[in-house]
C-alpha cells in the first residue's frame, strides 16, 4: 500500500475516493458490474477538493437538490433525492435531460429543461445547470453522503421550505462540512514545508530553476539525505525527491507565466484577435486585495490550461488494454508529462532505481541477510531492459487501439473512420467524393454502415485494415474484449480510446527522448555510471550500519 505519511492526505479521504471509483450501478452486484461514476467526473471533484474551490459546486448541488425535491416526484418512497441520486442513479447528461423533461411551476418558482440548460427560478433568483454537470454533481453528492450523512438525510426537509434563503443556508452548511472535514484530512503545513525545502536548496546551491538538469536532481537527492537538520521533510526515496523538485518547478513556472501575462501588453483586451481574457488567467486586484492566491485561481492555473489525459491506471479495468505492471510503468511518465523532454534521464532513473530502492527497503524489513545479498549484486533491471519494456507497452497499446477501433466502428462510425483513414495512404479521389456524399445526409450509425461496407469493397487498403482489426479483436481474450458490447455500454470504450491515444503520445515522446540520450552515450554506459552513484547512496541509507542492528 502506498504510504501517505508525509503527503498530508489522510487515508480516510483516500479511501472515499477509492470507494467512489469502485462504485457500481444498481443493476447487479457482480464483480465487473459497470462503474457508476466516470473517472473524469471523480477527478474533477478531486480537483475542486484539493484546490479547496468547492464553494460554487456546493451551491450548484443545493440548487439541483431543490429542483429534484420539487420536479422529480418519487411515488414509491417519497424520497426524491434518494431516487434521483441512488435508486435511479442519474450520472449522465442524457438521463439528466430525461429526468427533468416535465416542467414544474408553482407561484414564482419553476424548473424547466431548456435546450442547453436546466433553468431554475427560485423566488425570483435564477440559476442554470448544464446537463453535462450531472456526473460531477452526483459524485459530489456521494462525497457529501460519505463525509456528512446527517446533512444529506435532512436535505429534503430543509429544502422543502419556501424561499431562496434555504439554498444559501444549506450551501453554507455544506461548505462548512467540507471545510471541517478537510481540516482534519488534508493539512497544509507539511506540504508547504517540502516546497520551501526545495526552493531553499535551489537558492543555497545557486542553482537556477531554468537551467536545472538531471544531474542537479541527483545532487539534490544526495544533499537532502546528507542534511541532518531535525525538521526537514524526508527525502529517503529517490521518487520523493524527484516529485518534490518537479512539482516545485511546475509551481514556479505557472507563477512566472502568470506574472508575465499580468505585465504584458494588451493581453485579453482584444478578444477578437484571439487574445486570452485576463480574468480567466488572473484576477485583478479588486478592492485593493490581491486575489491571485484564491482557490479559483489555483484551480484554473493547475487544471484549466492543461489538457488532461486520464491516468493510464484506468486502462487496467475492463476494457483491459494494459497489464498492471505496464500501467505502473506509464504512470510516472503521465504524471510528469510536462517535464518529459527536459528530465528524460531523471524519469528513467526513477523507473529503474526507484524500483530497486523499493526492493531494498522491502528486503530490509524482511531480514538483514536478505538486504545484504540484495545490496551485494547490481540491480537486474537495467536501462536497456527498461527501453524494451516501454517498447512493449507501445505495442500493447497499438494492439488495443486496433481492438477498440473494431469495437467502436459500428457505434461511432464518424470519428473512428476518421482515425482509420489517417492510418492509410492517401484515399483515391473518387472514393473521397463518394464518402463525403454519403456522410452528409447520414444521421444515425446504421445509415453509415452501408457506406462503410461499400468503401470496404472498393478500397483494398481499407478492407485489409478492417480485416486486421477484426483479427486483433478475435485473438484478444482480455476483460471487455471477449464479446462485442451493446451500444449502451460503449462509453467505457470511448474513454479507454482517448486514454490509449494520450498514453501512446506520451510513450512515443519518451522513446524519442531515450533515443536522443543514447545517441550521446549508450544506455548501458549511462547505467553503469549511475549504478555506482546509487549503490553508494543505498549503502549509506540501508547498508552496513543498519544491517548490524
Amino acid at each position: 500500500m502506498t504510504s501517505t505519511i508525509g503527503y498530508g492526505v489522510s487515508e480516510t479521504l483516500l479511501s472515499i475516493f477509492d470507494g467512489l471509483r469502485q462504485t457500481t450501478t444498481m443493476a447487479d452486484g457482480c464483480d465487473d458490474a459497470p462503474r457508476k461514476y466516470r473517472c473524469d467526473d471523480i477527478d474533477r471533484v478531486a480537483q475542486y477538493i484539493c484546490c479547496r474551490n468547492y464553494g460554487f459546486l456546493c451551491r450548484e448541488l443545493c440548487f439541483l437538490s431543490w429542483a429534484i425535491v420539487r420536479a422529480y416526484p418519487d411515488e414509491t418512497y417519497q424520497e426524491p433525492l434518494f431516487s434521483y441520486f441512488w435508486l435511479d442513479g442519474i450520472t449522465r447528461a442524457s438521463a439528466f435531460r430525461k429526468a427533468f423533461s416535465t416542467p414544474w411551476q408553482e407561484n414564482d418558482n419553476s424548473v424547466e429543461m431548456q435546450p442547453d440548460v436546466l433553468h431554475l427560478c427560485v423566488s425570483g433568483t435564477r440559476f442554470d445547470i448544464s446537463p453535462t454537470r450531472a456526473g460531477v454533481l452526483a459524485v459530489m453528492m456521494e462525497f457529501m453522503a460519505s463525509i456528512a450523512p446527517s446533512l444529506v438525510n435532512n436535505m429534503k426537509a430543509v429544502l422543502s421550505a419556501p424561499g431562496a434563503q434555504v439554498i444559501d443556508t444549506l450551501s453554507k452548511q455544506m461548505q462548512k462540512a467540507v471545510y471541517d472535514y478537510l481540516k482534519l484530512n488534508m493539512p497544509e503545513v507539511q506540504e508547504q514545508n517540502r516546497y520551501r525545502y526545495v526552493t531553499d536548496w535551489l537558492s543555497q546551491t545557486q542553482t537556477s530553476y531554468s537551467t536545472l538538469g538531471d544531474d542537479d536532481i541527483l545532487r539534490f537527492w544526495q544533499d537532502a539525505n546528507d542534511d541532518v537538520s531535525p525538521n526537514k521533510p524526508s527525502h529517503v526515496r529517490f521518487d520523493t525527491a524527484v516529485d518534490d523538485i518537479l512539482d516545485t518547478l511546475f509551481a514556479i513556472s505557472v507563477v512566472q507565466a502568470q506574472k508575465a501575462i499580468k505585465h504584458g501588453d494588451s493581453v485579453g483586451s482584444d478578444s477578437e484577435q484571439g487574445e486570452v481574457d485576463l480574468d480567466r488567467v488572473a484576477f485583478d486586484d479588486v478592492n485593493g486585495k490581491d486575489d491571485t492566491a484564491s482557490e479559483q485561481w489555483v484551480q484554473s492555473a493547475l487544471f484549466s490550461q492543461n489538457n488532461e489525459t486520464p491516468s493510464p491506471v484506468q486502462l487496467t479495468a475492463a476494457p483491459k488494454c494494459l497489464t498492471k505492471a505496464q500501467a505502473a510503468l506509464c504512470e510516472p511518465l503521465h504524471r510528469h508529462k510536462t517535464q518529459l523532454a527536459r528530465f528524460a534521464l531523471t524519469l528513467i532513473r526513477v523507473q529503474v532505481f526507484g524500483q530497486w530502492q523499493a526492493v531494498l527497503s522491502q528486503a530490509k524489513r524482511t531480514s538483514a541477510a536478505a538486504l545484504k545479498t540484495k545490496l551485494a549484486s547490481p540491480p537486474e533491471y537495467t536501462y536497456p531492459l527498461y527501453h524494451e519494456d516501454v517498447k512493449a507497452c507501445q505495442n500493447a497499446l497499438t494492439y488495443s487501439t486496433y481492438c477498440l477501433h473494431h469495437v467502436l466502428l459500428p457505434h461511432e462510425p464518424k470519428s473512428i473512420l476518421a482515425e482509420l483513414i489517417m492510418k492509410l495512404p492517401t484515399m483515391p479521389a473518387e472514393l473521397q467524393r463518394f464518402l463525403s456524399e454519403q456522410m452528409r445526409p447520414a444521421t444515425s450509425p446504421e445509415d453509415m454502415q452501408c457506406a462503410i461496407a461499400e468503401l470496404r469493397a472498393r478500397w483494398p487498403d481499407f478492407a485489409a485494415l478492417l480485416a486486421d482489426l477484426e483479427k486483433a479483436f478475435k485473438t484478444n481474450n482480455k476483460a471487455g474484449f471477449k464479446i462485442m458490447p451493446d451500444s449502451v455500454d460503449i462509453d467505457p470504450y470511448l474513454e479507454a480510446l482517448a486514454c490509449v491515444n494520450g498514453t501512446k503520445q506520451i510513450l512515443a515522446a519518451h522513446v524519442a527522448q531515450m533515443d536522443n540520450i543514447s545517441d550521446i552515450a549508450p544506455l548501458d554506459t549511462l547505467f553503469a555510471s549511475d549504478v555506482s552513484i546509487f549503490t553508494d547512496r543505498f549503502n549509506q541509507l540501508y547498508g552496513e550500519v543498519h544491517v548490524a542492528i
Partner: protein
C-alpha cells in the same frame, strides 16, 4: 532567485501534490471501501454477490449500522418490531402484521432444513418482479434474507436451521423489516 509571489507557488505545489495523491488512491484494489451507494444497494436488496461482504462491514461499524437501519426503514414496506414477551418456547412460531405474515415449516425430507414462507397482502410491483428482502435486527447484529419474487402473493425459501440469519428470524426479540 525565489519567485516574488511565493505564496501562489506554494498553493499550486500543495494542490498539485494532493491531486496526485488522490488520483493514485491507496493502490489496493482488494480493499473495497463502502460508500453511501453501497448502503442503498444493500438496503434495497440489489447488492447481489456482494451482500454478505457488505453486511459484514456494516455490522462492524456503529455509524454505518445506524445509517443502514435508517435507510431500511425509509424503504420499508412493513416493520414488525421486537415481540414484547417470549410467550412460548415453540421455536417455529411465525409472525403476522397487517401487511404480511411469516411462517415456518420443517422440510419433511431433511429435517435440518426449514422453509420460510412469506405472504404479502398488498404486494408492490417490485416485489412481484424482483423478489422480497427481509432485514432482521437482533441485538447488535444485522442480517438479510433474500426471497424470490411473489407468486399469488406468496414466496418461500429453504434455509439450513443452523444458519445465523434464520436463527435471528426465528427469535422473538428480532425486529423485522420487509422491503422490495
Amino acid at each position: 532567485m525565489l519567485p516574488s509571489n511565493h505564496e501562489q507557488a506554494e498553493a499550486i505545489f500543495t494542490a498539485k501534490r494532493y491531486y496526485d495523491t488522490l488520483q493514485n488512491g491507496m493502490g489496493d484494489d482488494n480493499q473495497q471501501t463502502l460508500v453511501f451507494n453501497d448502503l442503498v444497494l444493500l438496503a434495497t436488496g440489489c447488492a447481489g454477490g456482494r451482500t454478505s461482504q457488505l453486511m459484514e462491514k456494516v455490522n462492524q461499524s456503529l455509524p454505518l449500522r445506524r445509517q443502514y437501519m435508517s435507510l431500511v426503514k425509509q424503504f420499508a414496506y412493513e416493520v414488525s418490531p421486537a415481540q414484547a414477551a417470549a410467550s412460548s418456547t415453540e421455536t417455529l412460531e411465525g409472525r403476522t402484521t397487517d401487511k404480511f405474515s411469516l411462517s415456518f415449516s420443517r422440510d419433511p425430507v431433511s429435517p435440518s432444513q426449514i422453509y420460510v414462507i412469506l405472504a404479502v397482502h398488498f404486494p408492490t410491483e417490485k416485489q412481484m418482479k424482483n423478489g422480497v428482502t427481509v432485514h432482521i435486527e437482533l441485538g447488535d447484529v444485522l442480517q438479510q434474507l433474500k426471497l424470490p419474487p411473489l407468486i399469488d402473493n406468496k414466496t418461500q425459501g429453504l434455509f439450513e436451521e443452523s444458519s445465523a440469519a434464520l436463527q435471528a428470524l426465528l427469535h422473538h426479540d428480532a425486529s423485522i423489516v420487509i422491503t422490495d
